[in-house]
């Protein structure tokens, strides 16, 4: 019905989907990689007519190199000395060892970090999404360099590496990173192979990637009870390798590092200090105790490894050579050669030609290098020879462009399309079909036609640009002739509008983007207070209670960046000594949430069976948590397990319940019967979402769905106007999105939600559940509004229909407007220092939210 009468809404949905995907793809366009493969012919053979013996100064330094990568190894795990005592003792007593800290790039997830470690290139933000679907790495990298120069490489650990390098390793075994609840098996598989390989001698480089620590972090956080045991295990692995080299009587290089860090809340992906700081432990290297505490970049590992292996440094590497880390390994002349080689390589591949300052610095450096070669290097004055090269390196890396300059035109087209979507939503006379055929809307139709043309032309940038211009003109013309319809905006208190306009204005400050939750929390409290002034005294106790509940829930999950690490109620509840409180709190949460889901879909038939099914759902969710976590304990002993059958039980009960309710709706709801069929269907949907959330939510968040349903019922009950209640539900949805611990940083996405009680990996379901878990509350808020809307039938069918259309339009508008503003802001700020750490994740969230709002509209269209 909605489709027939409001084709414009579907046109708007199409525009939004297209504009978002176009903007997304062109903003995060994969930059054209440097396709050159470095080779031995790149080695400079002379400096200022002074011939060099390359074979001698740049050669393989180690017979054996072991690289141990421990996923999510934070700097303080090693640096505090308690967790890995053997390793820490080595730094204190062993000569050629040091512990430095490395800054990683964003996003801090495994795939882009591995790519950085092997290629030394700047990370792609899009790698975040490809994290689970990596393909073969075509770019020049240290692994393929080593293999092509005859080194035998072994690999054991995360199978992401095997997807990047399918045929490269001599022997390998992958472990999968999907099952975050598997703490020990993944690492035992690696260590078992390590023990076997230490008996062989046919390898040159061995790479180990341990995943267990990351899994523990996701589930328990960095202060969890399993962390010390896991770090001790890593310490033992290190001891095994260290003692192997000791027995062998040769100094093999051992590098132990993390690919990324871990937030205090356990996640990673963002750009906080704990996430981007990883330790790099270099054992038997070229450094000594004095380099302890040095700060390098993660990409600096690439030249270090290349120099140790004696292979060319990968072409796209932006890594620096740090003389201090190589001093004890190389002679001064060799060290300077390595530095010179890396600098010259960076200059030829990475910097724009004809940079006078750079040329000057480089020739100065070469002059002093040549003079050193001629006179012999004075060991204590090495830094004099080095300093010019070092400043050239710094200069080049600081001038690498941050964004892709080619995509601007398609970004503009995406913005134009979204603007047209908003114009369409605001136009007069687009609500009902008859007016669309009238003469006054001819220009609207032609405008839509141009929009469609732009969509199809998007492949050809020149034409699309011209069409985009035409679209802007057509939109202006339509607005001038038709006038903007304020009917959608009318009937809502101006205070709400003030707050809604304030929201996009906060995008101007990166801190407000990082701490967006504060905006929503504060404005929500303000709204409640203002509502208390607007509405009658009867609703006052309700509003006060809502305010108190809102404040209490705020302390449940600390989120954002600045205050994310302060201990919150959730941390306190998760502490082992509070397990009794935690269990009772969790039980109350599940009971409340299940009763909310029971009330949302109240059927008249088979009540007792449905009730039993609801009980089964609740019980199996509780038992699942008791089985998998250590924090929840019942008064009787319940065996610990992976909780497969509990979750299966839950799903069976959910499917049975939903299908029984659907049957009730379809059989017993006839048109004359109130509440009508669409309303009941919406109720069943709400029930399904709440029940699923009950399983997916973390224990401390189990109460949130119930709280949200309560708040949205009580808050909307004094409001008669449907549009105001849609604005309110938008507010509630966003507030609860942040209350459940989300933020505009990638690290707060809870990946464990995707793998609850599954015994085999299904990427589709995992993605679905992670999305549902993250955007649960905006979805739930809209479904509740929909149910409310359908329940409050009144007046003639025609007016009811126009009311539905108004609410749907408003919903689209509320999501599209901030997206449009944010698109423009990120277009303007695309050279901003924080473009990858602040703007890009927020862009990702905004796009997802818009797409979800569109899909919600499509679902509602099926119901209306």
């Amino acid at each position: 019905m909605l489709l027939k009468e409001n084709p414009i809404i579907f046109y708007v949905c199409l525009l939004e989907i297209f504009a978002c995907s176009l903007f997304f793809l062109s903003f995060f366009a994969l930059k054209s990689p440097i396709t050159v493969i470095a080779s031995k012919s790149d080695f400079p053979s002379a400096v200022n007519e002074h011939k060099l013996d390359v074979q001698d100064v740049y050669r393989r330094r180690y017979n054996k190199i072991v690289i141990v990568i421990v996923d999510a190894l934070r700097f303080d795990f090693i640096a505090d000395g308690n967790h890995m005592p053997f390793l820490f003792k080595v730094f204190q007593n062993h000569n050629a060892s040091c512990l430095v800290s490395a800054k990683t790039d964003v996003p801090t997830v495994t795939l882009p970090r591995i790519k950085s470690i092997v290629t030394g290139d700047v990370s792609e933000f899009l790698d975040l999404i490809l994290n689970f679907g990596a393909t073969e790495l075509a770019q020049d990298n240290i692994i393929s360099q080593a293999v092509s120069h005859g080194l035998n490489i072994l690999f054991y650990g995360d199978d992401t590496w095997l997807r990047l390098f399918p045929k490269t390793f001599k022997r390998f075994e992958g472990t999968t990173s999907f099952f975050v609840n598997d703490f020990y098996e993944v690492d035992h598989n690696v260590t078992r192979n390590l023990k076997r390989e230490l008996l062989n001698s046919d390898w040159d480089v061995m790479i180990l990637h341990y995943l267990g620590l990351d899994h523990i972090g996701h589930v328990e956080g960095p202060k969890g009870p399993s962390i010390p045991g896991k770090l001790k295990e890593m310490d033992d692995v290190f001891r095994m390798i260290f003692e192997y080299f000791k027995d062998l009587g040769e100094d093999g290089l051992i590098i132990l590092t993390g690919d990324h860090g871990m937030k205090d809340s356990g996640g990673h992906g963002g750009s906080s200090f704990e996430e981007i700081t990883v330790p790099v432990a270099i054992i038997n290297g070229g450094c000594d105790r004095t380099s302890n505490g040095m700060v390098i970049d993660q990409v600096d590992l690439v030249p270090l490894l290349a120099i140790s292996m004696g292979v060319p440094i990968p072409a796209a590497s932006i890594g620096h050579v740090h003389p201090k880390l190589l001093e004890n390994l190389l002679q001064p002349s060799e060290l300077l050669y390595a530095l010179y080689y890396n600098t010259a390589r960076m200059k030829s591949y990475l910097s724009p030609p004809m940079d006078h300052q750079l040329e000057e610095l480089m020739s100065e450096g070469m002059k002093s290098y040549a003079s050193g070669l001629y006179d012999g290097f004075k060991t204590d004055e090495l830094h004099i020879y080095e300093r010019h090269f070092l400043s050239v390196q710094k200069h080049i890396t600081s001038n690498i462009p941050r964004s892709n300059k080619t995509g601007v035109s398609s970004l503009l087209i995406a913005i134009t399309l979204l603007a047209q979507a908003i114009v369409c939503l605001l136009l007069k006379g687009t609500t009902l079909l008859p007016s669309l055929t009238s003469s006054s809307s001819k220009c609207v139709r032609s405008c839509c036609f141009i929009g469609t043309v732009v969509i199809f032309m998007a492949g050809y940038f020149k034409w699309a640009l011209v069409c985009g211009m035409a679209l802007i003109l057509a939109n202006c013309y339509v607005i001038l002739t038709e006038g903007i319809d304020v009917k959608v905006l009318m009937g809502i208190n101006p205070i709400y509008w003030f707050m809604l306009i304030l929201h996009p204005m906060t995008f101007l400050s990166t801190s407000f983007i990082e701490e967006e939750h504060l905006f929503w929390y504060t404005t929500f409290s303000t709204l409640i207070v203002l509502m208390a002034r607007i509405h009658s005294r009867k609703s006052l106790p309700d509003l006060a209670l809502i305010l108190v509940v809102h404040r209490c829930l705020q302390s449940l999950n600390a989120t954002g960046i600045k205050w994310a690490n302060i201990s919150d109620l959730g941390d306190w509840l998760r502490a082992p000594e509070n397990h009794v409180l935690m269990t009772s709190y969790y039980l109350i949460g599940v009971i409340l949430t299940m009763s909310a889901s029971w009330r949302c879909a109240s059927s008249k038939y088979f009540k007792s069976i449905l009730f039993i099914l609801t009980m089964i759902q609740g019980t199996s969710v509780c038992l699942y948590y008791v089985a998998v976590t250590k924090n929840c304990q019942l008064f009787f002993h319940y065996p610990k397990s992976s909780g497969f059958w509990e979750v299966k039980c839950f799903w069976i009960a959910t499917i049975l319940r939903t299908s029984l309710e659907l049957r009730n709706v379809l059989r017993h709801c006839v048109g004359s019967f109130r509440p009508c069929r669409p309303c009941m269907l919406a109720g069943v949907l709400v029930q399904l979402v709440i029940s699923t959330l009950c399983l997916l939510m973390e224990p401390q968040n189990a109460i949130l769905p119930a709280a949200m349903v309560y708040v949205s019922w009580r808050l909307k009950s004094p409001v008669e106007d449907m549009k105001t209640s849609e604005v309110l539900s938008h507010w509630i949805g966003t507030v609860y999105f942040f209350l459940s611990g989300n933020s505009n940083s990638i690290s707060t996405i809870d990946v464990t939600a995707g793998f609850k009680g599954v015994d085999e990996c299904n990427i589709f379901f995992a993605g679905l559940f992670i999305t549902l878990h993250t955007f649960a509350f905006p979805i739930l808020a809209f479904l509740l509004t929909l149910e409310h809307l359908l329940r409050s039938e009144g007046g003639s069918p025609a007016s009811a229909k126009s009311r539905h259309a108004d609410v749907i339009k408003l919903h689209l508008l509320l999501n599209a407007c901030p997206t449009l503003v944010f698109m423009i802001v990120s277009l303007i700020q695309r050279e901003h220092l924080f473009i990858w750490s602040v703007f890009s994740p927020k862009l990702l969230y905004t796009m997802c939210q818009t797409l979800i709002s569109v899909s919600m509209v499509v679902i509602s269209a099926a119901l209306l």
Binding site: S509, E515, T522, H550
Partner: protein
């Protein structure tokens, strides 16, 4: 101590004097605290001495009102103390104690409001309490002092103001809260300044909001009001005819 006025000449005079003096003195205070480091201790009890000039200033204003009001009523003065006898007559110990209790209740009220709007529950009690006391000093204290207990109760019960002078306190109350609300927006910014701490920006915002409230009333009544520069003279003419 309760005044029940209509918008008479003397009410207007008193409101004018009150607004002008408050604007001047509070702005001076805001400037001084902004220029010195006094701002940074807004969250600790060390800032309590700073409250004394504010309290004294309110008391002086209170005295001035009574002198102006009594002069208007042409009350007979006792010869011994002159104007001061007027003040002496208006001092009521029981009412003062009740006023102080209302001030404390106001502090608690603002404390609760601050917590509900996101101030920390388990820590920073001192800061939140100081914020509550300061905001209460800016709003509830003058209201109690000048318009009396009943008027505050009426305000709390959301009843309309009696006259211009009472309305003044309603306005400043609203403006102070809005000022504190806006002040909170500075805390999350990443400027790394020492004053970006709870409750410094909020207290300062409340002070600025308070001044804005007085300015607003000034402009509303004495620039655009019935007797103001841009005021409508029609009513006067009607009266004259």
């Amino acid at each position: 101590m309760v005044f029940i006025w209509n918008d008479s000449q003397v009410t207007r005079q008193i409101t004018l004097v009150y607004c002008l003096s408050s604007c001047a003195v509070l702005s001076l205070m805001a400037l001084l605290t902004f220029a010195s480091d006094a701002l940074l201790i807004a969250g600790s009890t060390r800032a309590l001495p700073l409250f004394i000039p504010l309290v004294l200033f309110e008391l002086i204003k209170w005295a001035v009102h009574h002198i102006m009001y009594d002069r208007d009523l042409k009350t007979k003065k006792s010869h011994r103390f002159g104007n001061l006898s007027v003040i002496y007559r208006h001092i009521d110990v029981v009412e003062s104690v009740k006023g102080i209790i209302i001030f404390c209740l106001g502090t608690i009220f603002f404390y609760v409001v601050a917590v509900l709007f996101g101030a920390e529950i388990l820590s920073k009690h001192e800061e939140t309490l100081m914020f509550g006391a300061f905001t209460s000093l800016l709003t509830i204290f003058p209201m109690t002092l000048h318009t009396g207990r009943q008027a505050v109760m009426k305000f709390m019960a959301n009843q309309p103001a009696l006259n211009m002078f009472h309305k003044l306190f309603y306005r400043t109350f609203q403006f102070t809260l809005v000022g504190a609300w806006v002040g909170a927006a500075f805390i999350p910014l990443d400027w790394e300044r020492p004053w970006q701490a709870w409750p410094i920006t909020c207290s300062f915002g409340a002070l600025i909001g308070n001044i804005m409230g007085y300015l607003f009333v000034l402009v509303q009544h004495f620039v655009f009001g019935a007797h103001g520069v841009f005021g409508k003279k029609k009513k006067l003419k009607q009266y004259n005819s």
